[in-house]
């Protein structure tokens, strides 16, 4: 019996087609896995089911009845319950209240029925008895819990909706082994009771363990639905990557071998901190080392940690031969370390100030300047900007008058007056246009040729494959695989990212 059926659902945001043709059918009593890479349209499809996005076209059937989902409340009324990946809990309220947040029990029309609230909380907390960790109780405040415990509350909240159809968007990302095992037992029990479950995860082992069928989405289109028993991980990944996935990265633009004579620019040994653990690597002078993998697997955290802007608990960092322990960006900059963030608005742009003042801060620090003479500075600032074909009318116009791509060029230019030894790029091309990207990568390769050690994290696989000499694939905060030479293919990158070795 079909619990939920979507056919030919599409959604466009302005000119971008986020979902071209989404098809999905979830049966009663199955765990249906949804797979697709970042930006494939998977999350748009989920949002349509959840009612937070209205589709432009297509049909939705619940229990074989055509329905229109007008919003989250309407989704609930149609029996759809959702686990949100971005935690949607009230931090200052208790676990018990959060579990019932979706539908608080009420008595006499206005008062919260506290005894019913307690009973309900006890029922769902009991499901995870023994694996939920210390100090986990109905009275505990959500804000005081560990990340995995908060994720459990989020799961309990979804379960407490008792909806016939449940959607879990990466519900296990913070959980440990035992918690995942228990959660899967609960899901199997729900299956037996005839519920339909949509499950999104990037862990191939979990998908094999719990899934019945898998629907694969690529470039906004449903490619196929397979029985997981009749297939293997390699096939699934091949379907996600599409054709041409086995082609090795273009070799013409990047030398695959770096002159080892020149030595290491950056050495990282057993680095651990918030969001990553036991990461080790070396970047040679003149090398571009790529960081790949799914979003948020520790790539940014490592880069920020090296730069002194993130938490590092243990490990060793060397720049050249010198031991380096950045207590903050100031120290890192003085030691010749540079960091460019993709989040320009937060980490880069000094908004409302002239372009020239957005380029000079690093120069001020490294040359210990006290006086700022615009006429003298302009001879240093202008060449740095021109090396990337930055378009600007005057150095004294506010940076906000530039396009996103040109703003990012200005941010990068600030590192070019006094050359660093190590350049850390944290998804630097996020949200900038193609021609600006081309200018940036031309510069990055030039800098590598000049002998800088460069680490490039990019959420776009094509950028990694086209520019990096080596690629480290991150998974769950550590390096799971290293791709070099002819191994640098889209297929291998996906396979490593999805842990399907």
């Amino acid at each position: 019996m079909s619990k939920l059926k979507l056919s030919g659902v599409s959604k466009a945001y302005g000119a971008t087609l986020a979902l071209r043709r989404g098809d999905l059918e979830v049966m009663a009593g199955e765990v249906h896995v949804l797979m697709g890479s970042n930006g494939s349209g998977k999350s748009t499809l989920c949002k349509i089911i959840a009612g937070s996005v209205r589709p432009d076209s297509g049909r939705i059937l619940v229990d074989d009845q055509p329905v229109t989902i007008t919003g989250p409340r309407s989704a609930r009324a149609h029996g759809i319950g959702i686990f949100y990946q971005e935690l949607s809990l009230a931090a200052h309220r208790s676990v018990g209240e959060n579990i019932s947040l979706g539908r608080l029990p009420v008595k006499a029309g206005v008062f919260v029925d506290r005894s019913e609230l307690r009973q309900r909380a006890a029922r769902y907390i009991g499901l995870f008895d023994g694996v939920s960790g210390e100090e986990f109780s109905a009275e505990a405040l959500v804000g005081s819990l560990r990340p995995d415990q908060r994720q459990l509350v989020e799961i309990m909240k979804a379960l407490a909706s008792e909806a016939p159809l449940l959607i879990f968007d990466e519900p296990t990302s913070a959980l440990d082994r035992a918690q995942v095992e228990r959660f899967f037992e609960i899901l199997r029990d729900l299956k037996r009771r005839g519920r339909g479950i949509v499950f999104i995860s990037h862990r191939m082992d979990e998908i094999k363990a719990i899934g019945d069928r898998v629907t694969i989405i690529r470039d906004g289109e449903t490619i196929t639905t397979l029985n997981l028993n009749d297939t293997d991980p390699a096939t699934v990944i091949r379907l996600m990557v599409g054709g041409a996935g086995d082609m090795p990265a273009s070799q013409s633009s990047v030398p695959a071998v770096v002159d080892a004579e020149r030595g290491a620019a950056l050495t990282v040994r057993n680095l651990s901190g918030r969001g990553f653990s036991d990461v080790s690597f070396e970047v040679a002078r003149g090398e571009i080392l790529g960081f790949g993998g799914l979003h948020g697997q520790g790539q940014s955290a490592v880069l920020r940690g090296i730069f002194g802007a993130g938490a590092v608990t243990s490990g060793k960092i060397l720049i050249g031969e010198e031991s380096f322990d950045a207590s903050g960006p100031r120290k890192a900059i003085r030691c010749g370390c540079a960091y460019v963030s993709g989040d320009r608005a937060r980490d880069g742009v000094i908004s409302g100030r002239p372009i020239i003042e957005n380029v000079t801060p690093i120069h001020y620090l490294r040359d210990r300047l006290m006086i700022a003479r615009p006429r003298k500075l302009r001879h240093k600032v202008a060449p740095a900007l021109q090396s990337m074909q930055t378009k600007f009318a005057s150095l004294f116009h506010p940076i906000s008058s530039l396009s996103g791509g040109n703003q990012q060029k200005v941010i990068i230019a600030r590192w070019l007056i006094d050359r660093p030894d190590v350049l850390l790029l944290d998804d630097p091309t996020k949200g900038i246009d193609l021609s600006a990207k081309a200018d940036l990568f031309a510069l990055i390769r030039q800098l590598a040729a000049d002998g800088l050690g460069i680490v490039l994290y990019s959420s776009e696989d094509a950028e990694l494959l086209g520019n990096a000499n080596r690629i480290l694939v991150f998974n769950g905060g550590s390096v799971s695989r290293e791709l070099t030479g002819a191994d640098r293919t889209r297929y291998n990158l996906y396979q490593a990212a999805y842990e399907a070795a």
Binding site: P329, G352, A372
Partner: protein, 318 residues
């Protein structure tokens, strides 16, 4: 056309036009209002306010809801300290200057440490400090006399010093030049704007955010201390809470001059015009016999009006 338009919309131009208008208005209401001697007297008072507003200005420019409500308390304290240290003797002026600057820097440092290390919002921190200072003034007043200004100090503030203009006005002009150079031509100035515009980006670019913010509060305390010293010279003797009436006007002058309360935008030249404007406005209100309470109401309403005016401008640009 749009160029002329944007020129006319600049806060400093608006302030200057208003200044001329108010002078005419004053002259019309009470002939003799806009004579040379009278204008000089107005400028002396404007200098006092303007010097306090210089400190207020840098704190506001530094962003993160930067504001210094304790300036009035520091002005009063400084006047008391100066009066007792010099006690009517010219030889006591230099020690008095040192003592006042040290006291101003000390309380500014406390403000700065509270705001940066303890992460207390500036509004709360400096309001608390104002309370502490007011209490302290009561305690001091019971133990020691209020003190007398040295004759040389009084002459410096009230009598012509060079080219017929009193020394305090020269001092103010000098402060104006130093402030303009500091904000536009020093790394420190650029860093003030940087932390006021985007503190996190400034931090990532190696700006010592905490040290600079502490320095801004120290500067504010020291400017308030200088103003307190000059105020003693102006009135001859220090009296109860002499500085309190300057707190609100110092903020209005900054906002009038085009500095955004959100930080990172503005400068001191506009603030100077704002200070002159406020003093003329105050004088006109006195001329037409409006009591102190009425003047406070007009000032408060002016600030709110300015906020509406500038606040809407920002919303429209976004």
């Amino acid at each position: 056309m749009s160029r002329i338009n944007s020129f006319l919309r600049q806060p400093i131009v608006v302030a200057l036009v208003l200044i001329v208008f108010l002078l005419y208005l004053g002259e019309a209401l009470s002939p003799g209002f806009a004579t040379g001697g009278q204008i000089l007297r107005l400028l002396i008072v404007a200098s006092l306010l303007g010097i306090i507003a210089a400190g207020q200005n840098v704190v506001i420019l530094g962003g993160r809801e930067g504001i210094d409500l304790s300036v009035g308390g520091v002005v009063s304290l400084s006047a008391i300290i100066a009066g007792n240290v010099m006690n009517g003797a010219d030889g006591g002026i230099l020690p008095a200057v040192g003592a006042c600057l040290a006291a101003g820097a000390f309380f500014g440092l406390l403000n700065g440490l509270g705001v940066t290390l303890l992460r207390i919002p500036p509004l709360v921190m400096t309001l608390g400090m104002l309370g502490v200072l007011q209490g302290l003034l009561v305690v001091i007043r019971m133990g020691i006399p209020s003190g007398q200004a040295a004759p040389a100090l009084s002459r410096f503030v009230t009598q012509p010093f060079a080219y017929g203009i009193p020394g305090i006005i020269w001092l103010w002009i000098m402060i104006g030049i130093v402030m303009a150079l500091m904000l536009n031509r020093t790394v420190f100035g650029h860093r003030i704007y940087a932390i006021g515009s985007n503190e996190h980006a400034a931090y990532m670019a190696g700006v010592p955010v905490g040290i600079i913010r502490i320095a801004l509060f120290v500067i504010s305390g020291m400017f308030a201390a200088i103003a307190g010293l000059c105020l003693l010279g102006y009135s001859g003797t220090s009296f109860a809470n002499v500085g309190e009436q300057y707190m609100l006007p110092s903020i209005i002058a900054v906002v009038f001059g085009g500095t955004s309360l959100a930080g990172g935008k503005g400068g001191y030249t506009g603030t100077m015009a704002g200070a002159v404007l406020l003093v003329i406005l105050q004088s006109i209100l006195t001329t037409i016999n409006i009591e102190e309470s009425g003047r406070q109401m007009v000032f408060g309403a002016t600030l709110l009006l300015l906020m509406m005016f500038y606040g809407r401008g920002r919303a429209m640009r976004a």
